[in-house]
Symmetry: C2
Subunit: 348 residues, 2 copies
């Protein structure tokens, strides 16, 4: 190491050979003991001696070196930038936290990789450098078939992609955002609403998801010949909401699906400030529905009706990943990550 000449050089990490020397045993013995394969091979006292030597020297196995030997690591890479993690709310972050804990129990390490990439291949290449056993592309850069192929060739046994569909060679984790829109639309239509505005956030993050939710509302409206669906462009600011509220009388709408609770609350408050009455019942009231079922959305009055996702328990998805790693030949399939339901409250 070139920096050994420096004033406080980083010491060379202790190796398993050093542990073997310190304990007076062979490297194979150290390997058996520290990889949990000592039973029937190494006596109890020798095992204790090896563990003590490893402890004393501060020896830590090198995950990557182990993966170089074994041909596959224990790393599970979750592609999602930190701001997407936040944008998708407490339900999603709760899932992620539970998922990382469940992977940990199964002997895998889940890390969140949030770097941007200029292309599917650039993303796959950056991830492949870490030689992950599995990649879950949650909200990372999109993949295509050659990118999935590159990951497989680099030793990634399972590639899972969150979305309505995955590229060839990858499994699909299905959280059907169309369903979120469809549920909101069906709910409003069942209550007699026929002129439905659907918020389309101006921010780039939610764009794809917003298009799918809008398509879901349209699909629900298709069953009612007299129903009309109109996209409403809204930025995540009070000014944008006030502007939309000022233009409201021209729009002729009797309901809004606000994309999520945050945009719905923003618009609902602006509509109230402009003199509109929000509520589920009566033709003079405007119905407002959000999504995500945020705690804070219950603090405005009337309380916000919301679409919420019932997410598959994280232990189950961690188990699925572990199964796929044991059986990398399993043909790509669709695995549901959850489904959507409406929690009706007073707003719509």
């Amino acid at each position: 190491m070139t920096d050994r000449a420096g004033p406080r050089a980083t010491p060379t990490p202790p190796t398993s050979a050093a542990v073997a020397r310190h304990a007076g045993v062979s490297r194979a013995t150290v390997s058996y003991v520290l990889n949990g394969q000592a039973a029937g091979r190494v006596g109890e006292r020798t095992q204790a001696r090896v563990r003590a030597a490893a402890e004393e020297l501060g020896y830590v196995p090198h995950a990557a070196a182990r993966s170089l030997r074994a041909g596959r690591g224990r790393l599970v890479l979750l592609a999602a930038p930190a701001d997407a993690v936040e944008a998708f709310g407490p339900l999603f972050t709760g899932f992620l936290a539970g998922f990382q804990t469940a992977l940990h129990r199964l002997g895998y390490t889940g890390v969140l990789h949030g770097a941007p990439a200029s292309s599917p291949m650039a993303a796959a290449r950056a991830w492949a450098e870490l030689r992950p056993a599995a990649v879950l592309n949650l909200y990372g850069p999109p993949l295509d078939a050659p990118a999935v192929e590159l990951l497989h060739r680099a030793g990634t046994a399972a590639v899972l992609v969150l979305g309505p569909s995955a590229p060839p060679g990858a499994h699909t984790l299905l959280l059907d955002q169309r369903e979120a829109g469809r549920r909101a639309g069906e709910h409003l239509l069942a209550r007699g609403r026929r002129r439905i505005g659907v918020v389309r956030p101006a921010e780039p993050g939610p764009a794809d998801c917003a298009e799918l939710r809008l398509a879901g509302v349209r699909a629900a409206a298709a069953a009612h010949p007299d129903a009309r669906v109109r996209p409403l462009d809204l930025a995540r600011t009070e000014e944008s909401a006030a502007g939309l509220a000022a233009a409201w009388p021209e729009l002729g709408l009797d309901a809004v699906f606000g994309y999520n609770d945050e945009y719905a609350m923003l618009l609902m408050r602006a509509l109230q400030d402009a003199g509109h009455t929000i509520g589920a019942d009566g033709p003079d009231r405007l119905a407002v529905v959000g999504a995500d079922d945020l705690l804070l959305a219950r603090l405005l009055r009337p309380r916000l009706t919301s679409v919420h996702a019932e997410i598959t328990p994280p232990e189950q998805i961690a188990g699925l990943v572990a199964d796929l790693l044991l059986d990398p030949a399993a043909p790509p399939a669709i695995h549901r990550l959850g489904s959507f339901h409406v929690t009706p409250r007073a707003s719509g």
Copy 2:
């Protein structure tokens, strides 16, 4: 690899030796070209041939193998469980996203590691297995001096810990939560409030941070002999907030610092529902202050006064980490991650 016998065995990742064979050059040549050290050593046409061969075979350098050779990787490990990332709000996740992008530009890969650990040593051991060049412990399990030492011995050049203080051998990233409380306290005291309740969340996540914010309010109150500070236990549910609001008349308070905007909004709404009037002015009004300056906190009426953090630009912290990696002998220091200010609105 043992799974080559399976029906769709994962192929062996292409090696640099295979690239060399395919291009008809030596492994050293491949290494020069793919590590950007070809200038003056390898002709343009040979470089092109090596790149084409690498592209064709789908060769990706193994980050860990490279770090084994170089003695240090390009991985920067950020320890924070996903739910903490969410709990600390959009400001923090915005910082993290910007930080990961900035590291990427500097040639490093930032990954979020969220697995739990039973002890400081267990945490350090799990992180050390990935041989990170740097570790930033943001909201991960606490470290102590031996754990930092273990990381250094495993080749981690820089350990940075978010908090009021770091263990020996680690740098401190200071986001002084006492300051958040002090600012809230000073603001309320300057407006004549003297009996200040401070929300202490019942949830385990924010516990440490809440104690520091409470200490900050107490520190501000120490300058006013007639001021009293009282902790208020509150769970993140409407029921808990209603319970606290029902007990309010016995508490004799004229102001609340709600820990953050979410708890403040929860309590403010419950107090309003119980008939209390919230506001900055007048002895008959109860002042409420939150923290984080959430957009949604401006939608309740009166609009919530809030303490907000002004975070150091992520590019600057990424630059700091890169500098520390170039100079691992730099003595541990305190690096400010931001400071707190009050945005006064109508609530207090």
